[in-house]
Symmetry: C2
Subunit: 156 residues, 2 copies
């Protein structure tokens, strides 16, 4: 997700979908959780829990405890609204919540963007490789570091 797009729209969209999904499931997207989701979506770059915490504290005008954020993130991850990028200890909004998918990411070393993909070839290859070894897949993690298209075209 390069520089120029209407990101306000991304955020609004994400919140709308989250509202709908949670309503449908009877999950409680409380004000706090909604605000954290919004902060996760403040960019397409994965954000650390403590960065979110800082923003939240500022919004509230008073210090918030880490647990507050971690609990909200836990909920959002469970609901599939947010993914955790293991290799960055950071969180990013899910591009397509509701759809069943495991989370595959192309993480740009230069701009920090994390593009979520759900490539069936990758998923299938992992399942096949695991099956060959008698391994039962529960949760694949794919995080590919490299250079995104726009950073290749406009290097620093």
């Amino acid at each position: 997700m390069s520089a120029l797009h209407d990101h306000t729209h991304c955020i609004a969209d994400a919140l709308t979908r989250a509202d709908a999904l949670c309503a449908e499931r009877g999950a409680r997207l409380t004000a706090l959780r909604r605000r954290v989701l919004e902060l996760v979506w403040s960019s397409h770059r994965p954000r650390g829990a403590y960065a979110i915490l800082e923003d939240l504290s500022q919004q509230e005008g008073k210090a918030t405890a880490p647990l507050t954020v971690y609990r909200a993130l836990e909920f959002l991850v469970e609901q599939g609204l947010v993914h955790r990028i293991e290799s960055l200890n950071a969180y990013v909004g899910c591009a397509d919540p509701g759809a069943v998918h495991s989370g595959q990411f192309l993480v740009c070393e230069s701009c920090g963007d994390a593009a979520e993909i759900d490539d069936p070839r990758v998923g299938a290859a992992i399942i096949a490789a695991a099956a060959d070894r008698g391994f039962r897949v529960q949760r694949p993690t794919v995080e590919v570091r490299g250079l995104c298209k726009s950073c290749q075209e406009n290097p620093r």
Copy 2:
């Protein structure tokens, strides 16, 4: 890598290969680094830096600083002798150092074993998926959680 195998052999083997590789490259596998590598190889389960630190301290009879271990690990990872499992904040010996590969792991939720694989289908699928999006791959990370064969056969 299930329960029953001659793990002493795994360790000796890993050290021998490490010696050879480092000699070949002119990299300095010092006594300390060699001991850390040995501790990483103490099982096929990824081990945390602080677990290794504890073992090391005990061996030496005196407290060692975290940095000592982290620096040794950094070297070992650079040399491809050890991989870091991002989703566990832990380190595991590389099954095939020297070979060019990125590190794909099947991590068992039950016994904790991390089997390293280097499945060409997975690698190729990732490259293809990335190429479709103009993304240039530098370092793929694949960490699959699930149940290994032996844990499926002998559940708790």
